[in-house]
């Protein structure tokens, strides 16, 4: 299946993690345009096409780190899913912890997938691969 040609918005404040994410995407032939914002607020600006983002297209996928400075991930998630124009965008939540409450909370707030950032690079890539191919179906479901 050919990947859809959607823009991907990555909301992640850790530059190392950003690098790894981008690498993973490239290695897996994910050629979509990737936009990176480093905070929840910036993400909202992006989606609302404010400021510098005035000409940006609506992304087809959001990769969201749950732990963000300022407006935190869950808050942003809620915000997105509350906006009628934005709630249809699939959101994949990324985080280092696998806490059940977080997973449950994320799903409650409308996340489409939840992926625990693994320490292991392969795993990481595997996850992204899956995402690319089955991002709608395969995910870390809440137990």
């Amino acid at each position: 299946m050919k990947p859809k040609s959607v823009d991907i918005l990555v909301v992640e404040d850790n530059p190392d993690h950003v690098e790894l994410i981008l690498k993973a995407l490239r290695n897996n032939n994910v050629l979509n345009k990737v936009h990176v914002v480093t905070s929840g607020e910036e993400a909202t600006d992006f989606l609302h096409k404010h400021g510098a983002h005035v000409d940006k297209a609506k992304p087809g996928l959001i990769l969201l780190d749950i732990k963000l400075p300022g407006m935190d991930g869950i808050e942003f998630l809620r915000w997105v899913k509350a906006d009628p124009k934005l709630k249809s965008i699939p959101v994949v939540v990324l985080t280092t912890s696998g806490s059940e409450e977080e997973i449950a909370e994320s799903y409650r707030c409308g996340a489409n997938c939840y992926i625990v950032k693994p320490v292991d690079f392969e795993h990481f890539f595997k996850v992204i691969k899956e995402l690319k191919l089955y991002w709608m179906v395969v995910s870390s479901l809440p137990k």
Binding site: N14, D16, H17, E19, K23, T96, F121
Partner: protein
């Protein structure tokens, strides 16, 4: 002349002759006449009768009538005169007289005959007879005379009247004529006896008067003639019915009194004026534990007498002595009697003067030993309870129905600074902190109105120094109980306790907060730590993949080491996160079928178990417990995985899982026959990150997790090594881990 003449004829006659003229002058008298009137002849002759007062003027009429007769030439007489003699004595005489002529003198010759004795006797008889007759007629007694054959001869008017006869009609009748046969027989029998014996008898007997049966007292006397022969009997009797009735009444009354005294449970005794006991009733014998004989003989005087307070009582204080001396009644003197055997009998003695046997004293004695014993017991009991309430560290308060303090125990001072007397009379509600007042008043009012037995309340009061004390009280409505007649509160000062409780609660909250803080900290840190690890892992992986060819063997090795450590660190952090997370809310509590859970685990670990060739035995029955399923799952997995890890190489691994009920808990065990654990490490192994065998894989947190989970559920975990719980035939060192879960789900104080 006449002398010759009279003297010749009459001179020596024993009969007295007087010759008088018609004027009453003695012309001549003979010797006998002179002697009769005790004068000499000379003294009489020529004297006037009247002059000499030989006849008293009231008899002159008789003389004059005689003289009248003389003048007519007729005799006179017989006339009776009383003559006064010269010696003033009097004589009765009969006088005969006739006129005579002597020369030309008209004279009268008078013959005087002395009647004195005869008259006197007659008179006496008459008098006596009159007296007698009067007596007989007028005395109330009845008199009769019977002959020897008991035939009535005569009776007095009184008796005759009873018989409805005249006295002269009674002659010839017998008792059969008047009385019933039996009574008549009796009378006649008595008559016979008396006549035969010749003795006077006094008889009390029946008599019929006017149809009524009455009692009479009869004296029958035999009558004798001049030769002492008994010719009949004289009877005299009178009615004694009233007296007899009175006697009967008295006797009956005396009988009753006697019975009364004999039956009275109160001791009664009489002392005469010499303090001799003359009467004692049976009750007194019993009360004083001494026989009647001994009492009457005065043997009680050897006993000691004491006052109510136990000191010796001197005789002047005895009730009987005081009554005697004051001649007034003395009431209720409490007297103790110490008997011969040393026992003390308590009595209450009253005495009063009693006019018997001179100045006697009547004494009533009431035995009060039992009462005194009861009083003593009551006093002791009261003292005991008083001591209890006084010394109890509880404060005991009694209120009336308005809440006024009527009693306050001394311990109030210790807790609230007030002396009891400062509070009595004040209203208890005045001291309660206003905010607690509504509830206190409500509870009090409710207890008073509905007579609810016990109310329980905590309230704050004001200490005398102004500070606040907290009291916890139990109150009981005893208004209707006559011994208390009040509302009793049993209060405890719980200020300290509350303070300590509050302190403890605060400390716990503090601790909890700190714990939470710490856990939150650990959580955050772990999270934060994970982040760079992700990066490390990611980049080293890239390095490994994309620059493999440029790494030499050494380079690859170093990289591998880097990655291994990154993995390890990741695991550490994950464990830390787990451990920290566990302190927070325990997951959902559900009913867990442990048997099913273990089946799941067995299936999950099946491959591993087969790999090591282990025997896994689940001992049924297993209970249903209420717990966090995932956590309990974790506990079992950890313990079983440990058993696999530490199995040793000497024997085939055998793992047994089972359960036993023990005083409110389920005690599970996971036993193995592996390498076991030396006793000195039995505690350490539960400490996080402590590994005993560094060469065996693992974080060293498995057991600390188990401990945390089990303790969060309210249970305990411990180890026994060597195993004693494995079934026979598999003796080995091994270790058995026990953990308990409460049968009733109890939450940890922190949740």
């Amino acid at each position: 002349m006449l002398e010759d003449g009279l003297g010749a004829i009459f001179g020596h006659s024993p009969v007295a002759f007087f010759l008088v003229d018609f004027d009453g002058i003695f012309i001549d008298v003979n010797e006998a006449a002179a002697k009769l009137v005790c004068y000499s002849r000379k003294e009489l002759i020529g004297k006037k009768l009247a002059e000499l007062n030989i006849i008293t003027p009231n008899q002159f009429t008789k003389l004059e009538s005689s003289i009248y007769n003389w003048k007519k030439g007729q005799p006179s007489g017989p006339n009776e005169y009383i003559l006064n003699r010269k010696d003033r004595s009097q004589i009765f005489v009969e006088s005969w007289s006739f006129p005579v002529k002597s020369g030309d003198q008209n004279l009268a010759l008078t013959m005087i005959i002395d009647l004195t004795d005869r008259v006197r006797a007659e008179e006496a008889l008459k008098k006596s007879e009159k007296k007698y007759r009067t007596l007989v007629e007028h005395i109330p007694q009845k008199i009769f005379i019977k002959d020897r054959r008991s035939v009535y001869i005569s009776s007095n008017e009184n008796y005759a009247r009873d018989l409805k006869l005249k006295p002269d009609e009674i002659g010839g009748k017998t008792d059969y004529d008047f009385y019933p046969k039996e009574l008549a027989k009796k009378y006649r029998k008595d008559d016979r006896r008396i006549i035969d014996s010749g003795e006077t008898e006094e008889i009390e007997e029946h008599y019929i008067q006017g149809g009524r049966n009455v009692w009479v007292h009869t004296i029958k006397t035999p009558l004798k003639d001049e030769n002492e022969n008994i010719i009949g009997l004289l009877g005299i009797f009178w009615d004694i019915t009233k007296r007899k009735e009175a006697e009967e009444e008295l006797r009956e009354s005396e009988e009753k009194l006697r019975v009364l005294f004999e039956q009275l449970p109160i001791g009664v005794s009489l002392l005469d004026q010499n303090r001799e006991m003359i009467y004692v009733n049976p009750a007194l014998e019993k009360i004083l534990a001494i026989s009647r004989d001994d009492l009457l003989k005065g043997k009680y005087q050897n006993r000691r007498y004491i006052r109510a307070d136990g000191t010796s009582m001197p005789p002047e204080e005895y009730a009987s002595v005081r009554a005697f001396q004051k001649q007034q009644p003395v009431h209720d003197v409490e007297t103790g009697v110490i008997t011969e055997s040393g026992k003390t009998i308590w009595t209450s003695v009253s005495a009063a003067p009693f006019p018997v046997a001179g100045k006697g004293v009547v004494i009533t004695t009431v035995g009060i030993t039992e009462r005194k014993q009861a009083e003593e017991a009551l006093k002791k009991s009261e003292e005991y309870f008083r001591a209890l309430t006084e010394n109890s560290s509880d404060i005991i308060i009694i209120l009336d129905k308005k809440g006024t303090i009527t009693y306050m125990s001394p311990s109030i001072e210790r807790f609230c600074g007030y002396k009891p007397e400062e509070l009595i009379g004040k209203n208890g509600f005045d001291f309660i902190k206003p905010v607690d007042l509504p509830r206190a008043i409500y509870d009090f009012g409710k207890a008073i109105l509905t007579k609810e037995t016990v109310i329980s309340n905590t309230f704050r009061v004001r200490h005398k120094d102004g500070s606040e004390r907290i009291l916890d009280g139990l109150g009981k409505n005893l208004l209707d109980n006559p011994a208390i007649a009040g509302f009793v509160m049993n209060t405890r000062d719980i200020t300290e306790r509350k303070r300590m409780e509050d302190e403890r609660t605060r400390m716990l909250a503090d601790l909890e907060a700190k714990n939470e803080e710490m856990e939150a900290f650990v959580y955050t840190v772990s999270h934060d730590l994970k982040s760079p690890l992700v990066s490390l892992g990611g980049f080293s992986s890239v390095l490994q993949k994309e620059y493999e060819s440029q790494l030499g063997e050494e380079g690859k090795h170093y990289l591998e080491r880097i990655q291994a450590n990154i993995a390890y660190m990741g695991a550490l952090i994950t464990s830390l996160l787990e451990v920290s997370r566990l302190g927070q809310v325990v997951g959902p509590i559900k009913e867990i079928d442990v048997a099913a859970l273990l089946r799941e685990i067995r299936d999950a670990l099946a491959i591993r178990l087969k790999e090591v060739g282990a025997e896994f035995v689940v001992q049924e029955p297993l209970p249903i417990v209420r717990a966090d399923r995932d956590r309990i799952h974790q506990v079992f997995v950890n313990l079983i995985v440990n058993a696999v890890k530490f199995r040793g190489t000497e024997r085939v691994l055998r793992i047994e899982v089972g359960c036993r009920q023990e005083s409110g808990f389920y005690r599970f065990h996971v036993a193995d026959n592996g390498i076991g654990i030396a006793p000195q490490y039995h505690e350490q192994i539960f400490v996080p990150f402590r590994k005993l065998h560094s060469e065996i894989e693992g974080m060293g947190i498995g057991l600390s997790l188990v401990k945390k989970i089990v303790e969060n559920h309210g249970g305990r975990v411990w180890v026994e090594s060597p195993s004693t719980s494995l079934s026979a035939g598999n003796e080995g060192a091994g270790a058995t881990f026990y953990f308990t879960l409460p049968m009733e789900r109890r939450t940890n104080s922190l949740s």
